[in-house]
Structure formats: C-alpha cells, structure tokens
C-alpha cells in the first residue's frame, strides 16, 4: 500500500464536478471523488443521496450532464457499459442481471468478444481459475436458478473480473446477504485489494464501512460532503456527515387530541421470498389522532410491515390487533385478506409506494380507479355516477392537473397520480391511514399538499402511519417516530424532541458487528 501511494502515481479514478439531473431533480450536483489504486473506498449516504446515480455514470448506465471522469489520470468518456469495461471498470448492480437458466460460466462469458473459439469446458476452467484466485466458492456448471442470492452475487463479481476489470464498484452488496455471507464477501474483497484492484463499495451500513474500507466518501442529497480516512472516523462522526444539520421546515404540527389506541402490533416476524428475515419481532402501537412516522434505510422491512397490516403480506408470527373506533371491538388482522379485512368493517386505507403497480391501474381513468374501491356496490350494473362525482371532487379539491376525467392515470405526472391515490384512500373515511413514501418524486408544492392532507386526517382522529425517507420531514410532521433497522424496531422517539443524529444512528447502528469481524469466517 505505502509504495503504491507514492508520488506521481495517478489516481485509479477521479471524478470532477459531476452533475446529473432527472427532470427537476438534481440527483448529483458538482460531485468530486478520488479513488486510489489498491484501496477500498466506501461511498456512504442516505437513500436518495445520489450514490447509485453517481456510480452509474462511471459504469456507463447514465451520462453526466456536467463534469469530467479521469481513469489513471487520463480523461475518459463513458457512454455505455462497454466503454466502462474498455477502461477496466465493472459495476455489480443491486439487481442482478443474470440469465437464470444458464450456468455460472455461461453467464460470465455472455457477450464477451475475446475472439476465442467458444468452448464451454474451457470457459468453465477459466472461471474456476478466477474463483480460486480470490477465494470464491462456486461451481461454474451450476445453473443460476439453483443458486442462493450470495452465489448469484458471486457470479456477477466473476462476470466483471472475467472482463478484466481493475476498478470494481459494488452497489449495496451486503443488502441481500446474511452476516456470514457478508464476512465471506469482505474476505474476497480484501484479497482483491491485495491483488491491486481498486474497489468502491456503496453502502449505508456504518459498521461495514468501518470494517472494510480504507477511506469513506460521503454524499448527502446529491452533494459531495467530503472524504475521510476510515481509521480516523467513528460511527457517530460518519452519521453526522451523512445526515447533516437539521433543516427547519414550515410544516404545521398540532398537538394530538382525543388520542385512542387504534392498532397494536406485537411480535410480528416474517421472511421474504429469499427466506431472509425481513421482520423481526416488531411491536408498536398506533393511536388515532396522531401521525406515527416510520424511519429506516430502504428495505429494512417497512414495506412488509405495512403490507402485513393491509393483508397483502403474510407474516410468520405475531399479532395485529385493530380497535374498532365505534364498537370498541378488537379484531386480529393477521392472515386475513384485504377483502376479509374490509368485510370485518375495518376502515383501513393504504397508499403503497408502488403507485401505478399496487395503487392504481395506469391504463384506467380516475373514475375507474376510484371504482376499484366501490365496485362491490350496485346491483347488476355498476354505480358509476357516485365515483364520478368523487373523482370530480378530488380533481377540484386537490387541484389534480389532468386534461380530462377520462385521461388514463398513467398519463398524469407523479404528483397528480399521488393526489388521485391519496384522495381516493382518504375519501373512504378511514380510521387507519398508511402511506409509504407519499411524496417521493413530488415537487415542493405537491409535497406540502400531501402533508396537509395527512394533518387533516390526524385532526379527524385517524391513526396515520407514514413511512418516509426524508428525516427532516419526519421530524417536522410526525408525533412519534418508529425507527426500523434490518426488520427490528431500534427505537420509538418523540417527534418533537428527537434529533436527526439520534434517528440516523438508530437507522444505521448495528448489533451485528461481531459477525463482520475480519477474521470471522474469512477462511
């Protein structure tokens, strides 16, 4: 390491003044980044801080609006993944791009134009050789669909190495791994580093940053904050860089009144499709007349939690008790379908994060989408006039910009789609309203319109559960904030007194440090 950092050795990769905008959103603004030869650089930042976008520009997925990229001290233009490979840059994306039906080796060799005659047994040998060199455990002949997630990730890494990459970018590689698999991956990364490869690892898990990286670069809301040596940082110093100072937002927050217990969740645990634990003994209570915020790194179990309450996701164990505001009767919602839940008289509204996937039907107009909630009423012929009236009300009250009531909702902008969805859910006069990232992708005015709607519901005595990603908003809007971290509740804070650092720390802190110890399982 020491010799390699001697003078005159150019940087492996250098970014200068990179800016990228999508529509009105600045994903990256004037970002600088330096990667030395033979180091592991952690790229740290919250969700939406622009880490992946920045790296996608290095990997040729996007092209920067402004700025320069240097590889080995020379300016380069990267317009496609192929260009990136030509400069020996390879990225392992979070969502694997593999052909399930092919073997590991077939996936590795796919698209490689090396002029060699195609002979699968030779490819198998070459792949095995690379795997042995870095300590990957893999059978080149095994089909991808028979592999575990971590094996699939290995195939992705081998793909990049097979193409001769010297700079490897890994986008949240540990998000899908168990602690043991993470330890193995880190051992491999260290071997690659010894071999002279330069590695960027995108993550928001602080303990991993501290355990694997040499230096840490931090992004916040698309801007470059700085780079520090890992040996000189602590979890709290990194958290501070990551979340920044509190920004005061002009959102009204009234004191909750007439608070009653509405929903009580206890001991909820469940697995995802890959068999990993996504919810781990989650317990909390939501009250009518308050907004409960849920903060956490994306994929920490927020989605499953809301879907479990809505009857879409079936957890392994636990209770979801709902108190009827009228009769006071208590019903258990676990293992009930959405229809059963509605038939029980539970007035539950759910604004899912996937608006056009789960919330609305993109090719239908506003009225038809509203009828999705009321299609069971009416005899023989559907009642279309009431939903139409409601559609007009929503369009007028929420100022939905649409050419016509009959315009398919997918033709509306993100903010207007969200208004239609929230408007429909609120119109059913819920007693429990759940909203996941309701302002994602919305401009300031639309966002405030949504905040006001949530506040109105709270005033009416509705129990509001809001999953959010902007901590400033959660701290300004919510009465209480539940922090979820790897499927576990790490704290429930008072929204009026909690600080950003507290929430940020609870979101990223780990109690698994012992498992990613360098020596633990590196063999």
């Amino acid at each position: 390491m020491e010799q390699k950092e001697a003078r005159n050795i150019p940087l492996a990769l250098e970014l200068k003044g990179i800016t990228k905008t999508f529509g009105t959103i600045k994903a990256n603004y004037n970002v600088d980044l330096e990667l030395k030869h033979g180091e592991i650089l952690a790229l740290l930042g919250e969700n939406g801080s622009g880490k992946t976008t920045l790296m996608n520009m290095v990997a040729g997925i996007y092209y920067p609006d402004e700025g320069q990229i240097f590889v080995d001290g020379e300016e380069v233009v990267i317009r496609s993944p192929k260009d990136a490979f030509d400069h020996k840059i390879g990225m392992i994306h979070q969502h694997f791009k593999l052909v399930d039906l092919f073997s590991a080796a077939e996936n590795v060799v796919l698209g490689v134009k090396d002029g060699k005659k195609f002979n699968i047994s030779e490819v198998n040998e070459r792949v095995q050789k690379i795997a042995d060199r870095y300590g990957f455990i893999i059978d080149p002949k095994e089909k991808v669909h028979e592999m575990s997630v971590s094996q699939k990730q290995t195939v992705e890494i081998l793909k990049v190495l097979y193409r001769g990459a010297d700079i490897l970018i890994l986008d949240e590689p540990t998000a899908v791994l168990t602690p043991q698999e993470t330890a193995k991956l880190f051992a491999v990364l260290r071997k690659m580093k010894e071999d002279g490869k330069s590695i960027i690892i995108i993550t928001h898990k602080l303990h991993e940053v501290l355990s694997i990286s040499d230096r840490v670069a931090v992004l916040r809301k698309g801007e470059y904050i700085g780079t520090v040596n890992t040996s000189e940082s602590t979890e709290s110093s990194l958290t501070e860089m990551m979340v920044g100072k509190k920004i005061t937002l002009n959102i009204d927050r009234s004191e909750p009144h007439d608070v009653v217990e509405r929903l009580s969740v206890s001991g909820l645990s469940g697995l995802n499709a890959e068999g990993l634990k996504v919810l781990d003994n989650v317990s909390f209570t939501a009250y009518g007349g308050e907004i409960l915020g849920i903060a956490g790194i994306a994929g920490s179990g927020q989605r499953e939690l809301l879907e479990a309450i809505a009857g879409i996701y079936s957890p392994e164990s636990g209770e979801i008790l709902y108190n009827d505001p009228k009769g006071g009767a208590q019903v258990n919602l676990r293992k009930k379908t959405p229809l059963q839940i509605r038939e029980l008289g539970v007035r539950l509204s759910f604004v899912p994060e996937d608006r056009l996937g789960m919330g609305l039907v993109g090719s239908m107009d506003i009225t038809d989408n509203i009828m999705l909630r009321s299609y069971r009423s009416g005899f023989v012929l559907l009642n279309r006039s009431d939903p139409k009236k409601l559609a007009e009300e929503i369009v007028n009250d929420l100022e939905v910009a649409t050419p016509h009531l009959n315009t398919p909702v997918r033709r509306l902008s993100g903010g207007n789609v969200q208004k239609v969805l929230v408007g429909r859910e609120i119109a059913s006069a819920p007693s429990l309203l759940m909203a996941a990232y309701p302002v994602r992708g919305l401009d300031i005015n639309s966002s405030y319109a949504i905040y006001n709607l949530l506040n109105e519901q709270k005033e009416r005595g509705v129990a509001v559960i809001l999953v959010g990603e902007d901590l400033d908003v959660l701290l300004a809007l919510c009465d209480r904030i539940l922090v979820i971290n790897s499927g576990r509740v790490t704290g429930i804070l008072d929204g009026r007194t909690a600080t950003k650092e507290e929430v940020g720390f609870l979101m990223t802190k780990s109690d698994r440090v012992e498992n990613t110890d360098p020596e633990g399982g590196a063999a």
Partner: protein, 323 residues
C-alpha cells in the same frame, strides 16, 4: 409392407411439422411467439410454386428450360425468400413497433393464408405441370411407387436443419446469445448483445425455415398444388409441436414423427388393423397430436422443471430501461 408404408408416410408428413417447429423454436428462443407460422408456411409454398409455375413448360411432354436440380433450388430459394419477407414483416411489427406478439402473429396467419389462396388460385397452369416437378423433389426416390417416394431430398434437409439448429443453439456462442435474448433481454443488452438484431435475424431465419415446410407438403408429400388448403392446419400442428418438443429442435425430430403417426393413423386403421371407421372418426383421430400436446403441457407443468419451460421472456416486448 403396409406397416413400412405407414411409417414412411408418417415420417414424411412429420417433416412438414418439423420445418415449421424448427423455425418456430428458433424464433421463440429469441423471445418471440410467432403465431404467423401457418400463414408463413402457406406463403412459402405459394412462392415456391409460383417459381415452378414459371419454370415448367405448359406442355407436359416438352423439356423444361433448366436442369431439374436448378429448378428445385430456385423454388427453394423463392420459398426461403417468401418466408423471410413474412418474418421481416413480423419483426418490424413486433420488435421495432413493439406491437402485441399474439395479435401480430394471428394477423400474419390471416393475411398469409388469404394471400396463399389468392396466389394459388391465380397461378394459371393446371396441375399437370406440377406432376413432373414433384418428381424432381422426390429425388433420389423419384422412380419408386412405394411410400419411399415421399422421402425425397427435403426430408433429409429438414432433419439436417433441425440437427444443425440444435447444435447452434446449445453449443455455440451465437446460440448462447440468442437464448440469453429470449430468457432475459435486459441481461443480454447489458452484456453488449444487440438484442434487436438477434430478434430480427432469428425471426427471419425461423420464418424462412418454416416456409420450406409448406413447399415440402405441396410438392413432396401431397404432390399436388391443390393441397394448399390444408397447410394452415399443419401450421398450427407445428406450433403445437414446439410445445411438445419442449423447445428443443432435436426432440422435435422425434416429436414430428410421433405427430405424423398420429395424424395419419386414422387413414391406416382399416388396412393395418382391420378397423372400419367412418370419416368423422378418422378426422377425430387427427386431433390426437393436440391431445398429446396437452398431456405434455400438463406433465411439464406438474414437474415444473425450469429447463422445460418456454423462454422466460417469450411474448414480452423488450423496452430498454430509460429514465
């Protein structure tokens, strides 16, 4: 003797399905369900016969202007061209314009069978001129009167094409790339494979091969230009054969023989087994290939082995992710 004749006939009619299914498998491996195969087979036959119609002298006793082998080759080329043009049309609609594959395919069949009937009806010469041409196609068995006569050069060609396709699909890089396009076009795209080009070329080649099936049926098996009305039904059987052979051209060779056997067994029941059946029953027996296809579908669905499923992105248009 009857048994041998039966088996040879089954082999020969099966080759019609083999051409169609080999072509369709190549297309489907690129992720395109081309339901236009019946129409494409018809157009292939029509183009080939149009060339024959121009080459063969009207007078049955006059010698043709060209040597027989050249006439056969020219007819084959015309058939390949006709199929390829249909494939190009399908590709333009389904790949470039991303229209719905099912709708596009069915439209190709409706258009293709209609145009086939039109072409055959407008070919001026009577069937006599084709009689001599059919013997060219039955080389090297053109002088026999047994069922061996059906097993001319195009039977071998069909089996050879199926074997070559199988080898290309499973053993070469081109095949690997093609299968990647059909399984996961996004992955193939990210790996630097030109997805659109592969889809176009696979569909065009597949359609050209399927077209040969139509010509083989008219000139070789049926030996009559009036048989064109049957081609559509044979085309649908070819599509069923793709499912039956689990998207593998080499299995398609065996499958085509089984389909051929089941398709003609009704006609041989009286002579082979001494069973007297009426026409209706005989036609009912012809549905057996579909029945076995359904059985195969049920079995593969129950066993649910990933390898026996259709290509994962079959029927899905590919949009590159843009933001």
């Amino acid at each position: 003797m009857n048994v041998l004749e039966f088996l040879l006939s089954a082999l020969a009619i099966g080759v019609t399905f083999l051409y169609g299914s080999t072509g369709e498998i190549i297309t489907e491996k690129a992720g395109h369900l081309n339901l236009g195969i019946p129409g494409i087979m018809g157009i292939g036959a029509a183009c080939g016969c149009a060339v024959l119609n121009a080459m063969m002298p009207l007078n049955a006793d006059a010698a043709p202007f060209l040597p027989p082998w050249l006439i056969v080759v020219l007819a084959l080329l015309a058939t390949l061209a006709g199929g390829a043009i249909m494939g190009l049309l399908y590709s333009f609609l389904a790949v470039t314009l991303r229209s719905n594959q099912n709708v596009t395919g069915l439209a190709m069949t409706i258009f293709g069978t209609g145009l086939t009937k039109f072409i055959f009806a407008s070919l001026e010469k009577d069937g006599v001129t084709y009689v001599r041409a059919k013997y060219y196609f039955r080389f090297p068995f053109n002088n026999t009167t047994s069922a061996l006569q059906y097993c001319g050069v195009m039977v071998f060609l069909g089996i050879a094409i199926a074997i070559i396709s199988s080898v290309i699909l499973t053993r070469t890089k081109v095949g690997l790339h093609l299968r990647a396009v059909g399984e996961s076009p996004a992955t193939a795209d990210a790996a630097g494979i030109n997805v659109t080009r592969y889809k176009y070329i696979a569909t065009i080649i597949g359609s050209a091969i399927a077209g040969l099936g139509g010509l083989f049926y008219i000139m070789d098996y049926a030996g009559s230009n009036e048989a064109y009305l049957t081609i559509e039904a044979l085309g649908w059987l070819s599509v069923a054969l793709v499912i039956f052979s689990l998207w593998r051209p080499y299995l398609s060779i065996i499958g085509s023989f089984i389909f051929g056997t089941l398709f003609i067994v009704g006609a041989y029941l009286p002579t082979l087994f001494g069973l007297k059946i009426d026409v209706a029953t005989s036609n009912l027996v012809k549905t057996l290939p579909y029945v076995v296809t359904i059985i195969v579908l049920v079995i593969t669905s129950i066993r649910n082995r990933r390898e026996n499923q259709p290509p994962a992105s079959l029927g899905v248009s590919y949009f590159r992710e843009d933001r």
